[in-house]
Each structure stands twice: as structure tokens, then as C-alpha cells.
């Protein structure tokens, strides 16, 4: 374990504050929406350890962005479905793209305050099956129908239904407060910072190339395979597509037409996927015989103007969290930033590297500096791996932990921007600044000891709105696929 002691810096542990550790993190493969998962199938990944008795989990927190109306507290449904004790409380949080960051930091808060010792936090997003609502007029008519007492009343209500009532209402992809879509906002942001199309395409290509390399080298060990009933086993992220600059240059602008610079290739794509982490207090983890992967030291959330600075969270959040932890950019060995758009990442880097911006908009005396690229998102990012809104945060944190061990670093920093959905403000989160790895504490937890619980909901074909929640339990095999003991699900829940 000598590689972990190449650097020896101060510990960020503070007297009186519990050390909180990341024990393990896993995720399902991230898949392009509507590719492999059939659209009637909602999939949720959850993890457990065989070593961890089911009732040892004190609390479960899940993040999600676009909520399924039938499963409004999806954390609870997933936990029950995955065979956790029905005595384990769970709740769902939402904060746009950083919903699972919020789930993790909520868990950190619960541990720090002494409420719990063991937390499962995660995130899930299923863009292939977003709820589509009836129009407001139709909903109103339908609700009135419930209250109608006589046949005459009902008929008059039904008679009032017009063609316009039948138009469905898709979930808004636009910012509620500004009615601007995020891609549009990213394009304006890139233009504001003078990020060229070329720079964006280069960054996107870098992301895909690095992701491909990491995937081929087997570095993405947080991915667990998953068998879709009636389909193949899915074991790899399927959005990684290294291309050439020429190919990228051919694409037309996707949002600001025709002169915009944000294209389909330099934006993150709609993704299905889930992720989860096991967070514990250090005492508890050690007492239970775990070798934690990382300490979770500090985090900060910031928000800015939702119109013009929607996606600038990382630029605002990074200096703040560094200041809290008493570190500088140079102390950080591993950076993992959420790549919503290549243009957005480049804009953030430029903002962090600008004294003028720091002084004019951030009230700082000088810039914090941009992270060096040789430490930045080295195993790909949301652009290439995909971005299931609710699940990206856990992936970032787990990746930092894994990279720190691989690269022998001490401190890692995670940042993500968020907006959209129901959230109207912009946040950056750096939940694991000072994700410190002490050599003697971090040990390789053999993967074949994991038992993973997976749950998914699918709509029964005979009645489309009836959903069945299926749960499987099995072992992770040496080839990292999920070995289920039997073909039939262990439990079924029916929602109608």
C-alpha cells in the first residue's frame, strides 16, 4: 500500500466532528434513453453487502428529478423492493442534477448529528419513462368528474371535452423561472465566455476518449451488470463513442440555431441509470470490519441567478469549499466535475481562471485558478458516460474515491451544476472535498463478496398503467455480472 503514502498531508479531521466514510459505491451501466431498457421498465439499482445485515442500514435516501407519480417516495419503494428491512425509513430528495449529491450530503448530515451510523444514499433516473400528464383542462374535468353526482352532471362534463383537452403535457425541460431550456442556457454561457465550437468539440472528444480508455482498462469498477428480464445482460455504459474532430464538426447546433455552438455531441445525453453509495461513520465501519474507501470531509451548496449564471455553480462553489477546508487548488489531486455540456465546463474553467470575474461577480480579491487538465475527469465524464440526472452525484464521488486509490492522491474534489426540472435555482456541490485516503485504511474490498439488490418496476403489458415492482437478489460474480439465484423475482409489489 505504499502508493497511498506518496503524499503526506495534514488530515482534515476536526476535533468533535465525526469522521464519515464512503464504504462502497456502485452503479448500473448508464444507458442512452430508450436503447436497451424497454420503455415500460423502470429500473432501480441498490446495493447491499452480504456482510451488512439488512437491518444494519439505518436510513435510505434517494435522489431523483422527474418523479413517477405512482412512486412519489421512490426511495421507500426501492428499499422495500430490494428487500431491505421494512423498519428502515427512507426518503426521496430532489435538487435537479445534483439530487444524489443532496442524498449523500443529507446522509452525511444524519451521521454527523448522531442520528444514524449507516446510510445508503443513491439516485435514480429513468428518462425513458417520464410521466406524461393530461392537460390541465383535462385534469380539471377528470377531477370534477369524480365529484359529479348525477349522470347529467357527468355527461355535461364529458360533453365539455374538446380536442385541445386531449393534448398531453410533457415534463418541462425548461427552467421554470426563465422558460429557457438548459441547452440554450449553455449555449449562451459558452458565448458569454467566448468558448469556441472547436474548444467544445475537443473537450467532448477528450471525454469520450478517456472514458473509452477507462472502460477498456476496467477502471470503471463501480459498474455492476444487470440482467434485464427477457433481454441481455447489460454490463457496460453504452454512450461512450469516441469519434473524430471531423465527425464532430459536421454536427449542426442543437439549441441556438443556426449559429450556436452547443451540439448533440458536445452535450450530455438523456440517460437511464441508477447509482448508490454506502456511507458510514468511521467507528461503525471499522467496528464492522470494513475498509472504507474515502473520507467525506466537506461540502457546500451555492446558487446564482437562474438566467445568466445557471450553469456556473462549480466556479462559485469550488473556491468556497476549498476555503472551508483550508486547502488550495494545488492540494487537490483528483478533480471530478459534472460535464453537463462541454461549453459549460469550459466556461466554468474560464470563470475560475479569471481575476476579473472573481472580482466583479464573486466578490473575491483574485481568481481561484482552473484545475489542471491532467487531474481533471480522467476516466471520462457525463458527456461520455451519460448523465442520469438523479444518479450522477454518486458516480462522481465513487469515481473520485477510485481514482484517488489508483493514482495515489490524497484529496479529491467533486463539483456539479444543476438546474431544470422543478428546481429553479442553480447549485454547485462539492461533497467530497478532502476525500482523503489514508493508505492503511483503504483496502480493496473484494467485489465477489457483494450482494446486490436490484429492483425495477415494469408496466404489465395487459394493462399499461398497472406497474409491478420486481426485486432480485444475487451475488456479483467475478466477471462482475449479477448472479441471481433464481429466475423468479423474490418479491412482487403491485401498484395500480
Amino acid at each position: 500500500n505504499s502508493q497511498f503514502q506518496t503524499k503526506s498531508k495534514k488530515s482534515l479531521s476536526r476535533p468533535g466532528v465525526k469522521n464519515i466514510v464512503l464504504v462502497e459505491g456502485v452503479r448500473t451501466p448508464f444507458l442512452l434513453s430508450g436503447t436497451t431498457y424497454v420503455s415500460s421498465l423502470l429500473h432501480e439499482g441498490l446495493l447491499n453487502k452480504t456482510a451488512l445485515p439488512k437491518d444494519a442500514v439505518d436510513y435510505i435516501i434517494y435522489g431523483t428529478v422527474i418523479q413517477e407519480v405512482k412512486t412519489s417516495n421512490i426511495a421507500r419503494e426501492a428499499a422495500l423492493g430490494a428487500g431491505f428491512s421494512d423498519k428502515t425509513p427512507s426518503h426521496t430528495v430532489t435538487m435537479a442534477c445534483i439530487s444524489s449529491n443532496q442524498a449523500m450530503t443529507t446522509g452525511v448530515g444524519l451521521i454527523a448529528s448522531g442520528q444514524c451510523d449507516t446510510i445508503v444514499a443513491g439516485g435514480v433516473e429513468f428518462m425513458s419513462d417520464v410521466p406524461i400528464r393530461h392537460s390541465r383542462k383535462m385534469r380539471k374535468t377528470m377531477l370534477s368528474l369524480n365529484k359529479a353526482k348525477t349522470l347529467g352532471q357527468r355527461l355535461s362534463l364529458i360533453g365539455g371535452i374538446r380536442m385541445a383537452h386531449l393534448a398531453p403535457e410533457l415534463p418541462a425541460v425548461a427552467e421554470f423561472s426563465t422558460a429557457e431550456t438548459m441547452g440554450h442556457s449553455a449555449d449562451r454561457l459558452a458565448a458569454a465566455f467566448g468558448v469556441t465550437r472547436l474548444e467544445q468539440d475537443e473537450f467532448a472528444l477528450r471525454s469520450h476518449t478517456l472514458a473509452k480508455k477507462a472502460q477498456d482498462a476496467g477502471l470503471l469498477e463501480d459498474v455492476i451488470s444487470f440482467k434485464v428480464p427477457g433481454r441481455d445482460i447489460v454490463s457496460k455504459d453504452n454512450g461512450i463513442r469516441p469519434s473524430s474532430m471531423e465527425q464532430l464538426a459536421k454536427l449542426k447546433a442543437a439549441f441556438v440555431k443556426p449559429h450556436g455552438t452547443v451540439t448533440a455531441a458536445n452535450s450530455s445525453f438523456l440517460t437511464d441509470g441508477a447509482s448508490a453509495v454506502l456511507i458510514m461513520s468511521e467507528e461503525k465501519a471499522l467496528a464492522m470490519g470494513y475498509k472504507p474507501k474515502a473520507y467525506l470531509r466537506d461540502f457546500v451548496y451555492v446558487s446564482q441567478d437562474p438566467k445568466d449564471q445557471l450553469l456556473l455553480g462549480p466556479a462559485y462553489g469550488t473556491p468556497k469549499v476549498l476555503q472551508r477546508a483550508g486547502l488550495t487548488m494545488a492540494d487537490i489531486d483528483v478533480f471530478e466535475f459534472h460535464e453537463a455540456f462541454a461549453g459549460q465546463i469550459m466556461a466554468n474553467l474560464k470563470a475560475m481562471d479569471s481575476d476579473w470575474f472573481a472580482q466583479t461577480y464573486m466578490g473575491r480579491t483574485s481568481k481561484v485558478g482552473a484545475p489542471p487538465m491532467e487531474k481533471f475527469n480522467l476516466w471520462g465524464g457525463s458527456l461520455s458516460l451519460g448523465h442520469p440526472f438523479g444518479a450522477t452525484g454518486c458516480r462522481l464521488v465513487t469515481t473520485v474515491a477510485h481514482r484517488l486509490r489508483k493514482e495515489g492522491g490524497q484529496y479529491g474534489l467533486v463539483a456539479a451544476c444543476a438546474a431544470g426540472g422543478q428546481v429553479s435555482r442553480d447549485h454547485a456541490v462539492c461533497p467530497s472535498t478532502g476525500t482523503v485516503l489514508w493508505g492503511q485504511e483503504s483496502g480493496d474490498l473484494s467485489t465477489d463478496t457483494h450482494t446486490v439488490l436490484m429492483g425495477h418496476v415494469y408496466s404489465t403489458p395487459w394493462f399499461s398503467h398497472r406497474k409491478v415492482f420486481l426485486c432480485y437478489r444475487g451475488r456479483i460474480g467475478a466477471d462482475k455480472t449479477l448472479l441471481t439465484g433464481r429466475d423468479r423475482p423474490i418479491r412482487q409489489y403491485r401498484f395500480s
Binding site: T178, A179, R188, L189, A192, D308, F357, T360
Partner: protein
Amino acid sequence: MAGVRALGVLSRIASRRYPALTGSSSRTFSVASTMMARTHVNYEVKGDVAVIRMNDPNSKVNTLSVQMQREMSEVMEEVWANTAVGSAVLISSKPGCFIAGADINMIQACTNTEEVTRLSQEGQKMFEKIEKSPKPIVAAINGSCLGGGLEFAISCQYRIATKSKKTVLGTPEVMLGLLPGAGGTQRLPKMVGIPSAFDMMLTGRNIRADKAKKMGLVHQLVDPLGPGLKGPEERTIEYLEEVAIEFARGIVAKKIPLTKEKGTMQKLQDYVMSYPVVRNQIYKTVTGKVMKQSKGLYPAPLKIIDSVKAGLEQGPDAGYLAESQNFGQLAKTTESEALIGLYQGQVICKKNRFGTPARPVKTLAILGAGLMGAGVAQVTVDKGIHTILKDTTVPGLARGEQQVYKGLNTKTKKRTITTFERDSILSGLTGQLDYSGFEKADMVIEAVFEDINIKHKVLKEVEAVISPHCIFASNTSALPIKDIAAASIRPDKVIGMHYFSPVDKMQLLEIITTEQTSADTTAAAVAVGLKQGKVIIVVGDGPGFYTTRCLGPMLGEAVRVLQEGVGPKKLDQLTTSFGFPVGTATLADEVGIDVAAHVAEDLGKAFGSRFGGGNVEVLKTMVDLGFKGRKSGKGCYVYQEGLKTKEVNRELDDIMDKYKLTPHPSVSSDSDVQYRLVSRFVNEAVLCLQEGILNSPVEGDIGAVFGLGFPPCLGGPFRFVDSFGADKLVQKMRAYEAVYGDHFTPCQLLLDHANDPSKKFHK
């Protein structure tokens, strides 16, 4: 309650904005280029694109002044001659302004119609050259693009505009009694279709960028940018330039089409318009509408129709000739002079001549959530000022808050704000029944019942809770401020702020200062009013101040006219045909007969017999019978919910019979009745200037037009005296004086002007 209420209808004409300078010309196009250093227009060649930047160093806005035009023609010649240049981008370096129009002074400097016509023809020639430019020119528009600026832009080959709120396109010439005189009447119908072109030119309204794109007025939109490595405005202009350069290259490379594929509706419209019968019908309909709305008092709209018609029916040569000749004629009409005067006056009244107040008003408290109080709250809270709305009863408060909500909601329906912005604005409004939080208020405006005792009571209550720097403003329409201030322990902080109802529509704010009011208090009140978007006149204290006082004698005369047997309908017709946007009988109903009676009695007491005329008892009897005007459903007219037409209140006949007067045939012709009404108004206005209530004739004109609906085509009472002739007016008044006595005695200042024709209120 505050005097002139519910003058909603007035706003149709009176509240029109007069955005910016207009017209167009280029007298110096032919002047040979000089070696003088250029200060207004410069250009830089970027690759194969010439970027032409406009920036008037002496002004906040760019205008097509003599110098701007001279430098522009020089630059254009150089660009055309430069073989390395394949295309050009025309852009302004000023944030928020492309070109706001032509320089009005240039038109005013001309002595006769021929000169103005020549000015117009030079402009036409210049833009024709631009239109026929062998190298495509892309107009990159950020900010106001009005009048001559728009005519310039539409002669370019391609137009790109930013989606900024400041980017507006329009032809406001008609509001100045002019027409788009540099090819506008010829190019617009071809570009946006005949109906839209008429709509633009006849209303003069501003068109936002997204609408302009839909109409086909611009080809492409660009989003304004937020903060980046430079300030948002600076970077937005830079970005617009980058995009425009790309497009200019695309046009040369034939990658970007100059004409848009027409939609089915557009094709259909074009097809229909190809029939002369249809076009003639349109001219007829439009002319009819114009005549109905303008009563034939405004020549510009008719000349616009004439110019468009000439171009479409007789070909471009006839069209351009008609345009330039009509432009020349219009520029020398009294109507144009009056409207330009109002525009310039409005610019003056949008400035704070009292300087910057010591502390800006961040929290404003309003007492009374009635029509007036809630109206003030509405125009305040949406400007980002925290607003406290206090009433004494829950229903009263609820009604007031609902009014604010409704006002803002209307804006969301018109899409000027989003529902999110509406809710976020409303979060700045606190409704309450007590004085909590008043210690944080920087200004308190009271809009309680018009009774000196109640005003004193609230003043004392408020002064007990507010902080020492807080200003107390009274929204009264007639009570002298010094009487209200008499109860104050710090009269230097007491001021009058007379709003006009409906507050969100009426542009005028009359600020009344007493001798004790401190200069800083006045500066703060003006600053608040300007923030609320008001046109402000600051007047001296006295019964009725300026506006209510002028209205008094005219209403008195109107009652006499009614007593003499002229019906309300006829009275309305006589006044509207003189140019008043709202007839006097309707006005009285809108203001409220009870308010009119109250004011008439108060002012009658204060000013004596000069304010007589009609019998106040007529108004009092009407109030006693419940005929209080629109609010009570009956006044001079009967108002029924849901009905747009209104019938004359027949029950009025009995009252009029009772107070019947015999008309004097010598002074009772239609024209005489009109001049009886107007001359008393005007005489009182001049008297206000003579007595020092008014600071200047400009403020008098602005107050009368924007607050009381004095005919805009006459430009206000003072300009009316100038153009009509003081001597002629005095002559008429003397004739009426002979019959009715001192109601018509001209004041000394008016007599001075009558005796010396060289004396003018406006130079």
C-alpha cells in the same frame, strides 16, 4: 378621494409613448469625403468583412445627424471601393441603441416645406444606394432601432437583432405628426405586407425583436448574453458582431438565403392583395378607422396612407415622390410642431432637475388600498421597491391586493412578464392593517379619503412610527399641502404626489411642494416617480394645484352648457371633435360626479366667482339622487355591466329642467361652446404660470395633455395660445365676458401676450 380618477380612456392617446427622434434624411450625402478624423462612424476590416461601427460621442443615443450621415457615406464609399471587402456588418457600439431615429433639429432647422422635402429625398437616395449595394450589408441590431434607424436597417440586405428587452423596432414618426420619410412608406408594405405596415406606421408602436422576426422584419435573432469574461452588455455586442460576420460571409457564399420561404398564410395574403379591389378596400377601411379615431385632426396618418397608396398603385417613382412631398408638408404643420413639442417636453419631464436624493427609496408604504393606493402599489412594486400596502379593513385590503395581482396578471397575458416574474414581483408587496414595519419605510404615500381631518389623523399616526428620514407624501387632488403639513412635526418632509387614475395607465404625476418642503424631499419624490415610469411636473402649492384647478372652470362651464340644454352626447361630441380624447360629460362620470361637486365647491370657495358658471346645485342634486358617475352605474350616462354602448341618463332631464338656463344665441354656436370650454381651461393654466404655481409653460403643456387629456394635436394650453394667437383668444373671451361676466376675464399674462404678438410661451 383623489380628484381626477378613472381617466382610463384618456390613456389611449395621452399615454402614448413618444419614443425617440424620427424622420430621416441625409442632406450631406453628396458632400465629398474630407480628410477630417471621423468621430461618429468607423470601420474595421475583419478578414473579408467590413465592420462598420456607429457611436455618437456626444449623446447616449445614435441619431442620423448631419455628421453621422456624412461620415456614414464616406465609410460606405470606402467599403464599396475596397476590393478586399466582400460584405459589411453595420453595428452600433452603444449598448441599448442601434439608431434612435433622425435628428429632429435637422428638420426643425428647415425654413420651408421644400427644404424638408429635399431632406427626405436625400435620405431616400442614400438608402436606395444601400439597398442596391453590390456587397451585402448585415444590420446587427441591439437596442432601439426607430424611425430613420429602422428605415436604414430595412434597406440593408439582412437584419439580425438581439432578443434583449431594449431591442425595439418601430416607426414612431406618426406620433410626431410626421411619416417615415426615407423610403419607409415604400419598403415596409413590401417587407411585412400591407396590413402590418399600416399597423406599424399608423400606431407608431414599438415592436419587440421576437415579434419582428415573426413579421419578417428581421431575419435572425441572437440571445443577449450574461456575465462572462466581460460585462454582459459589452460581450453581447461583441457576440452579435461575431454572429453577424458569420452571416455576412454566409450570404456571400450563398449559404444563407436572403429571402424566407413564405408560409401558406403569407402566400394567401399576397395573392389576395394582388387584386386592386382588395387593396382599395383596405385603403378605405384604414382611412375610415383613422378618421374615426383622429376626428380628422391629425394629418399625418392620412398622408401615410396616401404615400403607401401612391407607391403601390402608381409605382415606386410616384411613391417616393409622394412620400418626400408629404413629409415636407407634414413637417411644417402646427400638429407636428405640437406633437414634437410634447415629445421634447416629455423628455424634459423625465429628468430629475432636483438632483439625486440623499438616500434612495427602498421601502415605500402606502396608506389606503383603494383604487388609487393599489394603483400606486402596482407601479411601485414591479420596479423592485419593497411596498407596504396598508388599509383599515380586511375586505378593503383584499380588494387592493387583488387589483395589484390583476394588473400584473394582465401583463403575463400580454407576455410582457412571465408568471414566475409576476409571483416574484408580488413577493415584494406586503399587505397589512397595522403600522408594523413602517419604521423601515423611506417614504409613505397616503391615499386615504379626501378629508383634511382624516389626513391629519393619519399623518399624526404615521409620524409616530416612521424613522426621521422618512418622507410623507399626500396623494390629494385638491387639498392644499400646506394645510395638511400644518399637522406635521416636520413639514420639510411633507410633499404632495398627485397621481391620476388608473395609475398604471396614466403617465402623469403632479408633485406639489410647499415653501417648507426641502429640496431633498422633492428630489426623492421625483426619483420615486421616475422609477415608477411617470412623466413628472413639479408645481407650487395652492387649491387644486395645477391640473385640478384647470379642470375646475372647464367643468363649471360644462355644467352651464348642460343647463343651457346641450345634451351630454352633444357635449361629448363637441369636445372630442376639438381633440379631447374623452368627452367632458364622460370625463365627469369617470372622475365621479361627487368628486367633481366636492372640488367645484372647494375651488369655488377658494377662487370666488371666476370659478362659477354652472350651478353647483346641479352636481349636488345628481349626487343626492345617486348619480355619481360610472362607479354608481348612473351619471350623465347609464352604465350597464357588459354593455359597451351607454345611453344618456334620461332622469337627468328633470334636473336640467329645474336648473334650466336660456342660451344666448350670440355665444352658443357649436364653435362658441367649444371655445367657451377651452378658453376657461387655457386662461386658468396661464394664470397658474402667472401666479408661479407652474414653473414653466412646458410643464403646463405636459400636465394638461398627459393628466387631463388636453388635445395632443394642440400641444397643450400654452402652445395652443402660441399657435392660435393670444389676441384672437382674448377677443373671443371678451365676447363671452360680455355675456357671462368675469368667468371669462382674461388674466394679465394672457393680455400681455395678446398685446405683444412677439411674446410666445415657446420659443
